[in-house]
Amino acid sequence: MIRTHALSTPLSAQAASELRSGDVAYLTGFLLAGREPAHQRLLEDLERGSPPVELEGAVIYYVGPSPMTPQRPIGAAGPSSAWRMDPYTPRLLQAGVRATIGKGARGPEVLTAMRLHGAVYLAATGGAGALLSLCVREVSIAAYPELGPEALHLLRVEKFPLTVVNDSLGGELYAAPDLDAALHG
């Protein structure tokens, strides 16, 4: 039996602490969307003490959508590989970001920072770009419009389907592949 949660943003410390690795969650609310260039700028602004958006309880989605079609607010919008944002993540979690969304495993520094700050890492289904696009109702630019497609975007989502990979207690859903069984089984 899979435990299922309904989440909203801003994501409270309480709501994040109730999530466990292997749980499923449907998120309704606002996601900050950006990758390396937006993260780079966000960190620079944070060091200056003036981030352009509220980070307390924020949820960041790593996504680089395909081009928008005339009928829809966004193109295919599945998750990017999360490890690419690892260098920026601990500082953002310290600043209040409570969840990040991507695909694939995170590095040790991010895992430590999540435990320290009570944050979680959630996976969206990699390659389900059209399905996830349908959960996105509205798109606007939150900051750094000069970065074009890599600007920091704000997505309003409804019932965005997620799996809890890393919870705030150090739980990990991604198991190391059983190489021994594969080679000798």
């Binding site: 899979i2 395909s66 193109g75 996976a123 990699g126 390659g127 770009g129 198991a175 592949p177 069984a181």
Partner: protein, 277 residues
């Protein structure tokens, strides 16, 4: 000599790019359905989402995935066919650029050093083969970033089949860190260094439910698929019985002092298509 206009090549390729990016190959869809029953609860949910995704992409006119990849083409050029107008490579590239623009597909190709992206996905990667006949058969593969886990090596020939097996299994295990599983694996064994790499990619064009005509390779493919599925990574790494949908291998004679081997890793949706003119 049969004459084919380069315009018809361009038009066919433009259509092929859109179709391959929007529609899950039918054999891959069947594999998802087949593997659902034996999956873990989270693995089953992931496969369900991928099946829904395939339905929705067609309906909404969106690509299956935002990573519309490098456009890789394999052209089998019949010796009794002549393409009139533009050179074939140029016609393929023009068709690809048009397909990616008109299909609202993401353009990925970038300079290897500066990483600058010219924004039209060109140039297409085009491999040619001269074959008997008077037709032009164009196969396309969408090569997304899952290819970051592809690799090639020159093994010690003394390692033999066991060495090839281990190379493949370790490569698949490594890919579990980030690839969108259940992956599809192409294996090229023998030939020369560059032959093996290209064969590994070309092997991915074979549908999952068509058996390898070479009984030895068919056996190797089956045993590698089973071994990969003992890794336990499961769909999207969430844990489960399906880490690999299938392995497809090609082999050729090689130098006695070498054992070239290459592994091409493709994501679960194994986007591909073909058209014959």
């Amino acid at each position: 000599m049969r004459v084919i206009s380069s315009q018809s090549v361009e038009d066919a390729v433009a259509g092929l790019c859109v179709t391959a990016n929007r529609h899950l190959p039918p054999d891959v869809r069947r594999a998802f359905l087949h593997r659902q029953a034996a999956e873990s609860p989270l693995g089953r949910e992931a496969l369900r989402q991928l099946l829904d995704n395939a339905e929705l992409a067609g309906q909404l006119g969106l690509p299956l995935c935002q990573d519309c990849g490098l456009a890789v083409f394999f052209v089998e050029h019949g010796e009794d066919a002549r393409v009139q107008g533009l050179p074939v490579r140029e016609a393929v590239n023009r068709g690809m650029v048009r397909g990616y623009r008109e299909g609202y597909l993401r353009k990925s190709t970038c300079d290897p050093f500066t990483r600058d992206n010219p924004g039209d996905n060109s140039p297409a990667v085009v491999h040619f083969d001269m074959v008997p006949g008077d037709t032009l058969r164009i196969s396309m593969m969408v090569q997304g970033a899952s290819a970051e886990y592809s690799r090639a090596a020159m093994l010690d020939p003394a390692l033999g089949v066991q060495g090839v097996r281990e190379f493949a299994i370790r490569g698949v295990a490594e890919a579990c860190r980030g690839v969108c599983a259940p992956m599809v694996v192409g294996l090229g064994v023998g030939g020369s260094f560059e032959w093996a790499a290209q064969a590994a990619a070309r092997a991915l064009l074979r549908p999952l439910d068509i058996e390898n005509p070479d009984p030895f390779l068919a056996g190797l493919e089956q045993s590698l698929t089973q071994a990969a599925n003992r890794l336990g990574a499961g769909p999207l790494g969430l844990g489960g019985a399906t880490t690999c949908l299938g392995v497809s291998a090609l082999a050729a004679p090689c130098h006695p002092g070498t054992l070239p081997v290459a592994l091409a890793i493709q994501c679960h949706s194994a986007r591909r298509g073909e058209v014959t003119l």
